[in-house]
């Protein structure tokens, strides 16, 4: 998975990572800078003149964040409640095919006479389950890897981050595609697994970089001198600090995962029909763009708004949590 789409500084540099990481090595540090973390390159974003002028601005999440979260909550709620909402069966022909949007069928009907609005809501279930599920998988595994690598350094780090470097050497979507392609069943769990595996390495890098920063702070030294075990330091001292950057990263990563699922579905490699998926619906409608554009455009629009909302929310969260010495 995909580095957060619009924050490439957090992306990783295959081949320049930590296959040979030795502490105190300048070349390694440089690649850390390229990772954008160890020396905090990410806060270059904070040099925005607006924010330099009013440091208070970033301590508020802002209206845009709440609108974005509201939209996401609405989509999530609709997806969650789909079975009990008074909408048509997504897989049944309920009217004539390619009916224009009306009060009975808000988004019109598709080529098989199925209700596009209902299918969009049911499609949201797949998108959200895959988006959230795969990133959860990536955060759990990647987080553990990053925490261990950043805390223990040395050989542990070399092996774990080398593994991540290799994962990152594959273009993200290609790896997901290959995993899906070589498996027989294309149910939700396969898609979650494929996209989840791809998201392990970027999370691991982010967590490692942050762990390294916090491991050098006084409170960790204090805990260690009080005799705290490694596990306790990692879980009780470092982890609570690492959670916030990971959270804002994850919000954007969910958007990327939703797009990835959309792409897989678009080429027919996600959950097979007749199950509704946004990508699949967009693909179904592409032959009717001229006379029934709503079949494609309705799910397109919802997908766009959802991804935009997640990007926006994640971006605001990143700025919000980015507490630097200057702001304290």
């Amino acid at each position: 998975m995909p580095a957060p789409s619009h924050d490439p500084v957090h992306g990783a540099v295959p081949g320049s990572g930590s296959v040979f990481a030795e502490s105190g090595d300048f070349a390694t540090e440089i690649s850390d800078i390229a990772d954008g973390d160890a020396l905090g390159l990410a806060e270059l974003h904070e040099l925005d003149p607006d924010q330099v002028a009013s440091p208070r601005a970033k301590r508020r999440l802002g209206l845009a964040f709440w609108i974005a979260s509201g939209w996401f909550a609405l989509v999530a709620l609709a997806a969650l409640l789909a079975p009990i909402l008074p909408i048509d069966d997504p897989n049944k022909t309920v009217a004539r095919p390619r009916l224009a949007p009306s009060s009975a069928h808000w988004f019109g009907t598709d080529a098989l006479g199925r209700d596009v609005f209902s299918r969009t809501i049911w499609g949201g279930r797949i998108s959200l389950v895959v988006g959230i599920g795969s990133i959860l998988l990536g955060v759990l595994i990647g987080g553990a890897i990053g925490l261990l690598a950043g805390h223990y350094r040395g050989k542990v780090e070399t092996i774990l981050m080398g593994f991540c470097d290799v994962l990152l050497s594959f273009p993200a979507l290609l790896l997901a595609l290959a995993i899906v392609g070589f498996r027989d069943n294309r149910d939700v769990s396969t898609i979650v697994l494929a996209i989840g595996v791809v998201s392990i390495a970027p999370v691991a890098r982010l967590v490692r970089a942050n762990t390294m920063i916090y491991s050098q702070r006084e409170f960790v030294t204090a805990a260690r001198s009080l005799g705290a075990s490694n596990a306790r330091i990692m879980l009780r001292e470092v982890l609570p600090n690492v959670v916030f950057p990971v959270l804002s990263f994850s919000v954007i990563a969910v958007a990327v995962a939703i797009v990835a699922e959309g792409g897989l579905a678009f080429i027919g490699l996600s959950v097979p029909p007749p199950t509704a998926t946004w990508g699949g619906m967009i693909s179904d409608g592409r032959n009717f763009l001229a006379d029934a554009p709503w079949i494609s455009l309705a799910p397109c629009f919802i997908l766009f708004l959802t991804v935009l909302a997640l990007n926006l929310a994640g971006d605001r969260l990143r700025e919000f949590f980015d507490i630097r010495e200057g702001a304290l």
Partner: protein, 317 residues
């Protein structure tokens, strides 16, 4: 030189791991790979033949070394559907995809660089706000969605460009670029946003450096400061990201080539997956991953060539 040697050793290790993972893909197949590789045709005879051909009974390291040896000498096996050697198919399709990728990178940069320069020069100004907002929106548009919209607007509504088809670059370069215009644009849009934002933030940081103030105090014209003094030191992360973005572009090309019916590497890969034809998929994954690693190796080298701080890291330390 130490830097180069170190990078070369890393490159070899990563390449070995990447090829090994590509090789292991076949073992992801549920059940007996030989059965799946026959793609339902040929019966027991085919299965037995595949078993001996791939020597599936040998231990994995032995199989890997043999497979790698074959791959290096240009033997990636053959398609189960039409018996075409994978290597032959790849040599036809790789140039098409490379043209598409370079074209879209070029398109993204030619918009992003001037826009980033202008936006950073007047950070917080109207142009900065508008372009940042528009490009942020563009980031939320998946390439396949943009492709669909572009097909709807240009070939369907306006009758411009073709919706599908590709003219070979060696036949007619201009027509070739025309046939790839919409696909390349679909891929370039999101990259444009990434590049512009990155260059903008780096430039804003650079413009706060003391030597820029110095240049201003000397009375240098702002344009000259921006282009001669600020641009180069601000372009390093841009260069890294251009390399990394080849990965994302290849992912996008997997889908875009399908939509526009371009016979490139992406379409080959997806068609093979949909046809349950696994040997070509393995070959394509291998070639793409190795290509991606090599591109990023080249970017690392370029980076070092441009930024003396990296090259002379040892000397400084």
């Amino acid at each position: 030189m130490r830097f180069v040697r170190r990078k070369l050793i890393q490159l070899v290790v990563v390449l070995l791991c990447v090829t090994f993972l590509s090789f292991l893909l076949i073992s992801l197949l549920p059940g007996d790979p030989a059965t799946k590789l026959c793609a339902g045709a040929g019966g027991q005879e085919c299965v037995d033949q595949k078993r001996t051909e791939l020597r599936l009974d040998d231990p994995i390291p032995v199989r890997y070394v043999r497979w790698l040896g074959d791959a290096v000498t240009g033997d990636l096996g053959a398609s189960a559907r039409n018996q075409q050697p994978v290597w032959e198919a790849l040599t036809q399709r790789v140039p098409v995809t490379i043209e598409l990728l370079l074209y879209s990178q070029f398109m993204a940069l030619i918009i992003a660089i001037p826009l980033g320069l202008l936006a950073a020069q007047r950070a917080g100004g109207i142009l900065d706000r508008v372009s940042t907002t528009v490009l942020f929106g563009l980031l939320a548009v998946p390439s396949f969605m943009l492709a669909l919209l572009l097909i709807y607007i240009f070939p369907v509504k306006l009758g411009w460009f073709q919706a599908t088809g590709y003219t070979d670059f060696t036949d007619n370069p201009l027509e070739s670029l025309g046939s790839l215009f919409l696909p390349a644009l679909s891929l370039a849009a999101a990259e444009m946003a990434v590049y512009m934002r990155l260059l903008r933030t780096d430039l804003i940081a650079t413009l706060q450096e003391d030597y820029i103030t110095m240049a201003k105090a000397k009375g240098m014209p702002p344009r000259r400061i921006l282009l001669r003094h600020a641009f180069k030191p601000s372009s390093f992360s841009l260069i890294t990201v251009i390399g990394l973005n080849f990965g994302r572009l290849i992912g996008g090309a997997l889908i875009i080539e399908i939509i526009f019916g371009i016979n490139g590497l992406g379409k080959y890969t997806v068609d093979s997956i949909l046809g349950q034809d696994f040997i070509p998929v393995q070959g394509a994954v291998l070639v793409i991953a190795v290509g991606y690693v090599l591109i990023n190796f080249a970017v690392d080298m370029l980076y070092a060539a441009l930024d003396p701080r990296i090259r002379h890291a040892r000397a400084l330390a």
